[in-house]
């Protein structure tokens, strides 16, 4: 059938939202393009800045066999994109009492035994819009390397694209979450200065000074503020 819509100027691109064709301005993100076409999000939009994983999108391009995955808010539309967003990812999260989890090499397998089903196909890594080495952290989890699982998964925004693509039905992003909590709680060294400070606060060490500040007039506060000493900006190595 002859198409009725014509591209008015070359700055428009043709996209297919769940199969339906729309013309949208080039240069928009997928999210803004879908809105431009007349959709109003309830699901599928969250932070709109690449931090929350609400806008996981899968698409194919005209004439290209590949299935792509990305975030709608962080990807520019291209001519010929066939788009669909994931409204929700069904993936079971293990429930655990973090106080009772033992930080040993079996910790993750105990809660997510399906990790052992990983066939190293790397599809999860390819699907990750953050560009994380997802398969590597699943393999690390399998070996009981909690530190590596935690570190490699740290930038995970939990969009679920890995889990939806995995032939072994692993919920990678939940695995990463458990690893990070175990690592953060049991394996990273505790901050001693923090414990010291809490003791001092509990002993009321700062109460008088704070009370004085609370009662202080603006004039005196201003004086104190304006002449307060500012810790050197010298670079600290880390």
């Amino acid at each position: 059938m002859a198409r009725k819509k014509k591209i008015e100027n070359k700055k428009m691109v043709r996209i297919y939202i769940m199969g339906k064709e729309y013309l949208v301005p080039a240069g928009l993100t997928i999210m803004k393009a879908i809105e431009y076409a007349g959709y109003r999000y309830i699901r599928g939009a969250g932070c709109r800045a690449g931090f929350c994983g609400a806008c996981a999108t899968v698409y194919r391009k005209l004439g290209d066999y590949k299935l792509y995955a990305n975030l709608a808010c962080q990807t520019t539309v291209e001519d010929g994109m066939y788009l669909v967003q994931l409204p929700f990812v069904p993936a079971n999260k293990a429930t655990y009492d973090i106080e009772k989890v033992k930080p040993d090499e079996n910790a993750i397998l105990q809660y997510y035994p399906e990790v052992a089903r990983c066939v190293s196909c790397n599809t999860c890594t390819k699907a990750c819009p953050q560009g994380l080495e997802v398969m590597d952290y699943i393999q690390a989890a399998l070996r009981g390397d909690i530190k590596k699982t935690a570190e490699l998964s740290f930038d995970c925004i939990q969009c679920g694209l890995c889990a939806i693509r995995c032939p072994a039905e692993i919920a990678h992003y939940h695995v990463g979450q458990l690893a990070r909590r175990i690592y953060g709680k049991y394996m990273m060294p505790k901050a001693k200065h923090l414990q010291e400070r809490i003791k001092e606060i509990e002993a009321g060490k700062f109460d008088d000074e704070i009370k004085k500040l609370m009662k202080m007039g603006v004039k005196r506060l201003k004086e104190l503020y304006n002449k307060r000493e500012i810790e050197g900006e010298a670079v600290e190595s880390d």
Binding site: L28, Y36, A37, G38, R40, Y41, I42, R43, A45, G46, C47, R48, A49, G50, F51, C52, A54, Q74, T75, T76, K93, T95, Y96, I98, Q130, G131, A150, F154, D155, Q158, Q177, R180, R181, G184, K185, Y186, M188, P189, K190, A191, H193, L194, Q195, E196, I198, I201, F206, E209, I210, L213, L221, K222, Y225, N226, R228, E229, E231, E233, V235, D238
Partner: protein, 549 residues
């Protein structure tokens, strides 16, 4: 990849880089700060604010966009809601599933409330909140050269001495305890090998007390809290925002009417205590600014609480974050964390010159950017006509060594890389963006909401929706802290409160009264609120929409 014209300016930035490494511009004096704010900060623009005509805080000054929602009619008339049929009965209803709401839920649980008697109702998904997007860090005075008193002075000076002292005191004294709680839950804070927290400066801090988890600090905190709430089994209703509070005959807050956005039905929630944790108002686009805020930041809680008698404070000041992305267009207004400056990235103009100290308080820093672009005409102009200043990110690796940007600013690096800009090699373009609701509903240090006659029984608030903690200007790292300190306070105090609370018959009397007041003030019935979500549909599509289905 930048367009040619912008590349030319980048060459100038590169030329001055070595010199600039040696010296920073002086910080402004108090007087200079005052002057630049008056002349350039959007808060001082004429015609952008107005006096409220109705309610407890009648006469106070608000941005027009917020006043429009306060002076608006409810989404549905109270008579259309059947309060006799209760869908959920709970001890504590928490409205909002962000950092404050989730912290409140956990602390209510620690204080003896069963998970099945806590209900989180949230507009989008659990965790869809500005908390998730907070990059730079969270403040806590936990180093030997620092103290809560020094933190106090930074907060109140940064807030222009308008802050409510009891709230500041609680904020700074509880801060270390919050970090410890997070540490125990397994939050992966950036640490040195011996466990010492890696801390840096933020704008307006006098000590390096910014704790971080790379530049995903808020996300790391949020996902751990959410994971914990899920482990405990706290009930959460997603895509079900509150649209009105419910009161009993004595005016105590006794729950809320929720709206299931997908099925479009309402639910009646009867609760002994209600915690308002709905966040701020960035998506109202005050003065047309782009925003860093998440999709649901539309001031719903402010509107509902005001109808129930909550006082407002410090609503006349709005926070514009100095560094919103100004290029490329796709990420316009999105947050570029202050940590880029904490780590040594300097703001420079089109000629590669320094023009302001990188770490002035946010309102001052933002004003200096506006001055550079619009008075001195030293901004960089993008192909779409946006103006901005450079943030010289490659300096970070000159100072801290190669690999620092990927390691400590992974989110920023990724965001720009997605659009073919390598911030390790080239600077990034920034301009102020709407960031934070400085003021809000007034609370006391126990997170109880205050009305005309003191505490409004049954209503608590935490996080961006409340005001007073930050006065007229919030410092970096104090908003995450606010959500946690006052979320915790709200959870603890609501748990205490419900042990004795008794509620009478459910009513929406306060809404009816509010409608009468609107009518008396001759406000036309053309606006309804809360708005729940912004509307970004294309004009062409909207023009042909028909409401028949």
């Amino acid at each position: 990849m930048y367009p040619k014209e912008m590349e030319k300016s980048i060459r100038k930035v590169e030329e001055t880089r070595q010199e600039r490494l040696k010296k920073l511009p002086e910080r402004m004096t108090a007087k200079e700060r005052e002057e630049i704010l008056k002349k350039f900060h959007p808060d001082y623009r004429k015609g952008a604010k107005r006096k409220l005509k109705v309610g407890v805080s009648k006469g106070s000054i608000l941005p027009n966009e917020v006043a429009d929602l306060i002076e608006a009619y409810p989404l549905i008339h109270p008579d259309e809601i059947d309060l006799s049929q209760i869908d959920y009965e709970t001890d504590i209803l928490i409205i909002g599933g962000g950092g404050a709401g989730t912290a409140a839920a956990l602390w209510a649980y620690y204080n003896g409330i069963k998970p099945e008697n806590i209900l989180i109702a949230t507009k989008l998904r659990h965790g869809d909140a500005n908390t998730m997007m907070a990059q730079g860090g969270i403040q806590a005075a936990d180093k030997p050269n620092d103290s809560p008193a020094i933190h106090y002075l930074d907060v109140i000076g940064g807030g222009h001495y308008a802050n409510k002292p009891e709230l500041v005191a609680r904020l700074v004294l509880d801060a270390p305890l919050i970090i410890k709680w997070h540490e125990d839950l397994g939050v992966m804070y950036d640490k040195k090998p011996d466990g010492e927290m890696i801390t840096v400066h933020g704008g307006g801090t006098s000590r390096k007390r910014m704790h971080s988890a790379k530049d995903y600090t808020g996300m790391e905190i949020m996902r751990v809290l959410r994971d914990e709430a899920r482990n405990i089994g706290i009930t959460t209703l997603e895509f079900s925002p509150a649209i009105e509070l419910i009161t009993d005959e004595q005016g105590k807050v006794a729950g809320a009417v929720l709206f299931n956005m997908e099925t479009e039905q309402y639910y009646v929630v009867k609760a002994k205590a209600t915690i308002m944790a709905t966040g701020g108002f960035g998506r109202l686009h005050i003065q047309g600014f782009p925003t860093t805020n998440h999709y649901g930041a539309t001031a719903d809680g402010l509107v509902m609480a005001y109808r129930a008698g909550a006082k407002l404070r410090d609503m006349d000041s709005v926070q514009y974050h100095p560094t919103g992305a100004a290029y490329p267009e796709q990420i316009l207004g999105l947050l570029v964390t202050e940590k880029v400056r904490s780590l040594g990235g300097q703001p420079v103009n089109v000629d590669g010159e320094q023009f302001v100290h990188p770490l002035e308080p946010r309102d001052v820093e933002a004003s200096a950017f506006i001055r550079e672009c619009y008075e001195r005409n030293k901004g960089v102009v993008t192909p779409t006509g946006m103006r901005g200043v450079w943030l010289d990110s490659p300096m970070i690796e000159m100072i801290h060594g190669k690999g620092t940007i990927e390691r400590r600013l992974g989110a920023m690096f990724r965001m720009f890389q997605r659009f073919d800009i390598d911030m390790r090699e080239e600077p990034i373009l920034v301009f102020p963006t709407l960031h934070y609701q400085n003021g809000g509903i007034e609370i006391d240090k126990e997170a109880r909401v205050l009305g005309k006659n003191g505490v409004i029984a049954g209503l608590f608030a935490a996080g961006e929706v409340e005001g007073g903690v930050h006065g007229k200007n919030r410092l970096m790292g104090n908003s995450l802290l606010d959500t946690q300190v006052f979320g915790r306070a709200a959870g603890i105090n609501a748990a205490k409160y419900v042990k004795k609370a008794k509620i009478g018959k459910l009513t929406l009397k306060h809404v009816k009264k509010y409608i009468e007041e609107l009518k008396k003030a001759k406000i036309k019935e053309e606006r309804k609120s809360p708005v729940l979500l912004p509307d970004y549909r294309g004009e062409k599509a909207v023009a042909r929409m028909i409401d028949i289905f």
